[in-house]
Amino acid sequence: MPVSEQPLTLDSVLTDEAVLSTYRRMFAALARDSGAVVDDPALVDIAETLFAAFAEAGEEWLTHEQMRFACRAHPADQFDNRLRVLKGLGAIREVFPKPNQLRYRASFTSVVGLMFIRRMMDDGGQSEMHRLLALEDLNVADPRTTMEEARQSALNLARAFRLWALELITLTTGTIEELREQAPKLWGTEEIARRAQSLHGTILTRWPELDRTCTDLRAAIYAYSDASRRAAGRLADSAGTTRNLTLLPTETWRTFAQTASRERLAAVLDGFVFDAPAPWHDPAAVARAVDEAPRPAPAQPTPPRSNLPDPGPESSLDSSPGAALERLTLMAESLLGEADRVALADVLGSDWPSARRVLADLTTVDLRPELPYRLAWSDGLSVDPEREPAWLSHGYLERVS
C-alpha cells in the first residue's frame, strides 16, 4: 500500500503520542481555523462532501482539482479555507509526504468522528447512552472483566450522568424556548434510568468491594432522573394547552394510534363532557325544506292515440314469395305489349314522379336474372326543355329469350 505509515484505526492511535492528534483530527471537521470551532454548518458539509468523495475514489485517491470538483457547490474561498484547515489538522493528508504532492487521502478517524458528531447533534446523545449502557452491561457480565475495569466503567457512567444532569439543571433555569428545544434531547426516559440501575446492580452484586463507587453512580443516576423530571415539570407548567404535544416524537404518536386498543384510546377522553347533538329545526326551516324538496322529473307525455283498434295498412302488402316477381313481369309485359323491344322514351309517362317509379321498377327487372327482360342503354341523350323529363338517355327495354 503506497502509504507513509500504518493506516490510522482507533486501535492504532491509542498510544500517548497519538491521543492528541486523534483528538485534533476528530474535531478537524468542526474547526474554523486551526484553533477554533466552526460557526457555519456549511463548513461541516464541505468536510462531509470531501470524505464522501474520498470514499468513492478508493485507492485512486484524489487530486486537488478533483476535491474542488466534488465541492463545486461551495464557494472557492470557503473550500480553500476548509482544505487548509483539514490538511493542517491531518484529516486530509498527502499520499506521499513530500513537497508538491498531487494526490491526497482522508483520515479514517476523522470520518468516524464526524459520524459520531452528527449523531450527537441529532439526538443529543440519548441513543449514545443507550448503546453505552448496553455495552457496559455486556462488559460487566463478561467473566474476563476485572474489578478495576468495572470501577472505571462505573466512574465513567457516574461522570456522564452528572454532566448530563448539570446541563439539564442549567436549562431548567434558562429560557423556556431553549428548554423546549434542548430538553427532549437530554432528558432520559425511564428506560435509561432502569438500564443504569440494573448495571449498577450487576456491578454491586459481583464486586461488593466497589460499594463506594456504586454509591456515587447511584447518586448520579438519581440526580439525573430528578433533573429530567424537573425540566419536564417546568415545561408542563409553562406550556400552553397543546404545545407540549411537540415534546413526544411523531413516531410515538403514530405507534400509539396504530397499536392502542379501543379501550386505551377511549380512556383519553374519559371524564370530558361534550354537547349532545341538538340542532334546532325552526318551523319556517322545516316548511322551507319541504318547499325545496327535489321533485322527480315529470314523465314525458305520450302522444294521444285513438281508442279504436288500428292495425295500419299492413294487409295491403302481399307478402307471398312470388308476388314481387309477378308484379314486375306484369309491368314489363304491359310496357312491351306484343313487341320484343321498346324505346324507353316512348313508354315513360310525361310526369317525372311516375316516370321515376317506372325506371326504378325497370332497373329492378334488369337486375333480376330470373326475369327475361333487360335494359340496354346507348350513348345518345336528347334534351328538350319543353318536355318532362327534359333530359332523356336513350335506352330500350328488351325481351330476351
Partner: protein
C-alpha cells in the same frame, strides 16, 4: 351559589351533554326547563330560552347556527313525522299520536316522489339523527314526536298546521302484512316505550328574571341575543357584533346567566363562546352515563386528535395553540392502521359528525378526511390543558413528561 342553584346548573349541563332529562314521578324540573309530564306524572325536562326566543334568533344576527347534517332531508323527514303524528290540529303538536315507521316512510316518499331503496335508506338515516337529537322517538317500528318538538313556539303552530295540511297523504296498498294500528297497539303499552301516548307541557319557573329585570328592554334584548349566540352559534362570535359581549358590565351579567346553566364564557381573542364550567364538567365527567359518547366514539375522536393535532404539532406544522386543525386525518389511516373494526369505525364517525365533534373535509375523490369539530372551541383552557396531558399520559406513559404530569396532579 346556593345548593339549589348548583343542582339546577348541573341539571342544565346534564341535558346539554346527554339530551332531555328523565324526571321521576312528581319531580319538578329545574327553573328554565319545560316539564313534559306523562299521564303517570313522570316526565322529561327540556331547557327553554329566556324571553321566549329560540335559536332562530341567530339568523337575525347573521350568526350561523350549529350546522345540521343533511338539513333539507332531515327536516323533510321531520315534516313527514309531524304529518303522521299530529292528527288533531286543534291541539299542540306535542305529544301527538304514535305512528308506524312504515307510514312515515310512505308519507316521505309521497312528499319527494321517489320510491327507490336509496330514498328509504336516506330517510332511515334522517330518522336516526332526529332520534339521536330528541326530535323524534323511534322505538320498535313506532315513531313519536320527541321532547324537542314541544319547544316550537305557539306562534309558529299556525305555520306548522298549514304545512301538515298541504303535505300529500300517502297512497297505500290496502293491506301490508300487519296493519299500522296493530303495530302501534302492540308497541304502545310496553313499559320500556320511552313515552306513552299523551302528556302535557308545563312551563317551568323563569330563571333569569332577577338578573334581567334591572335592565331596560334594549339591554335585556342584547343580553338574550348574546346568550343565544354564545350558546348556539357554530363558532365563537365576534364581540363587536354583540353589545353584551363588548360591555364588561353586561358581559358580567351574561356570565352569571351562563353560570346558572353550568356554563362559562370562553374567549378566543376578540371572539367569545361558551363551554362547561370546569367544576360542573368535573362533576358530570365523574358521573356515569352523562356523556352521549360510547367507547368507540371516544376512541375514534382520540385518533382524530392524534392525527390532526398531535402529529402536526410534533412536526411543527401547527403554530396555533388550539385543538382545531386544518390537517385532516385521512379516512384510510383510520380504516387500515388502527385496531378498530371498520363497521364500528363508520358508525362512530357518523355520530361524531352529527354531534359536531368532528368535521368532514372533502378533497377530490378519495382524499380528505376528518378534523376536530367546532365543539373543540368550547373547551375551557383547563379542559384543553387536561386533554393535552391525557394524550401525553396515554401515548408516552414512560416519558419524564408523563412523570411530571402525574407529579403535578398528585401535588394538587
Amino acid at each position: 351559589m346556593s345548593v339549589d342553584r348548583q343542582a339546577y346548573a348541573l341539571a342544565h349541563a346534564r341535558v346539554r351533554a346527554a339530551g332531555p332529562a328523565r324526571l321521576g314521578a312528581g319531580v319538578a324540573a329545574a327553573p328554565g326547563m319545560l316539564r313534559l309530564t306523562r299521564p303517570d306524572s313522570t316526565g322529561e325536562a327540556v331547557p327553554v330560552w329566556p324571553d321566549g326566543v329560540t335559536p332562530s334568533l341567530l339568523d337575525e344576527h347573521q350568526v350561523p347556527p350549529v350546522s345540521v347534517e343533511r338539513s333539507g332531508e332531515t327536516r323533510r323527514v321531520l315534516a313527514a313525522v309531524l304529518k303522521c303524528c299530529w292528527r288533531d290540529l286543534s291541539v299542540d303538536p306535542w305529544p301527538g299520536e304514535p305512528a308506524s315507521v312504515e307510514l312515515v316512510l310512505d308519507t316521505y316518499r309521497e312528499l319527494i316522489g321517489r320510491t327507490d331503496d336509496l330514498m328509504r335508506n336516506w330517510a332511515r338515516g334522517a330518522l336516526r339523527r332526529l332520534h339521536d337529537s330528541a326530535w323524534v322517538i323511534v322505538d320498535d317500528g313506532v315513531v313519536l314526536l320527541g321532547p324537542r318538538c314541544a319547544l316550537w313556539p305557539v306562534e309558529s303552530h299556525a305555520q306548522l298546521q298549514e304545512l301538515v295540511r298541504r303535505l300529500p297523504e300517502p297512497e297505500r296498498p290496502e293491506l301490508t302484512v300487519v296493519g299500522d294500528a296493530d303495530i302501534v297497539a302492540v308497541a304502545g303499552p310496553h313499559p320500556p316505550a320511552p313515552a306513552g301516548a299523551g302528556g302535557r307541557a308545563e312551563g317551568g319557573a323563569a330563571e333569569f328574571d332577577d338578573l334581567l329585570s334591572g335592565y331596560d328592554e334594549r339591554r335585556r334584548a342584547e343580553l338574550v341575543a348574546a346568550f343565544m349566540a354564545v350558546e348556539h352559534a357554530a363558532e365563537p362570535v365576534p364581540e363587536v357584533r354583540f353589545a353584551a359581549l363588548r360591555d364588561p358590565a353586561l358581559r358580567h351579567t351574561l356570565g352569571e346567566m351562563l353560570a346558572r346553566r353550568g356554563r362559562t364564557l370562553i374567549q378566543h381573542r376578540e371572539r367569545w363562546t361558551s363551554g362547561y364550567d370546569d367544576a360542573v364538567a368535573a362533576e358530570l365527567g365523574g358521573a356515569e352515563g352523562t356523556t352521549s359518547l360510547g367507547v368507540s366514539e371516544r376512541a375514534v375522536l382520540t385518533l382524530v386528535l392524534v392525527h390532526s393535532v398531535a402529529i402536526p404539532r410534533a412536526e411543527g406544522l401547527l403554530p396555533e395553540d388550539s385543538w382545531l386543525s386544518p390537517h385532516p386525518t385521512p379516512v384510510d389511516e383510520l380504516r387500515r392502521h388502527t385496531q378498530l373494526p371498520i363497521g364500528e369505525l363508520e358508525a362512530a364517525l357518523r355520530s361524531l359528525r352529527h354531534a359536531g365533534l368532528i368535521g368532514q373535509v372533502k378533497a377530490g375523490e378519495e382524499a380528505g378526511g376528518y378534523v376536530p369539530g367546532p365543539q373543540f372551541h368550547r373547551l375551557t383552557p383547563a379542559a384543553r390543558r387536561r386533554l393535552q396531558e391525557e394524550l401525553i399520559l396515554a401515548a408516552g406513559p414512560n416519558t419524564p413528561l408523563a412523570a411530571a404530569v402525574l407529579a403535578r396532579r398528585s401535588a394538587k
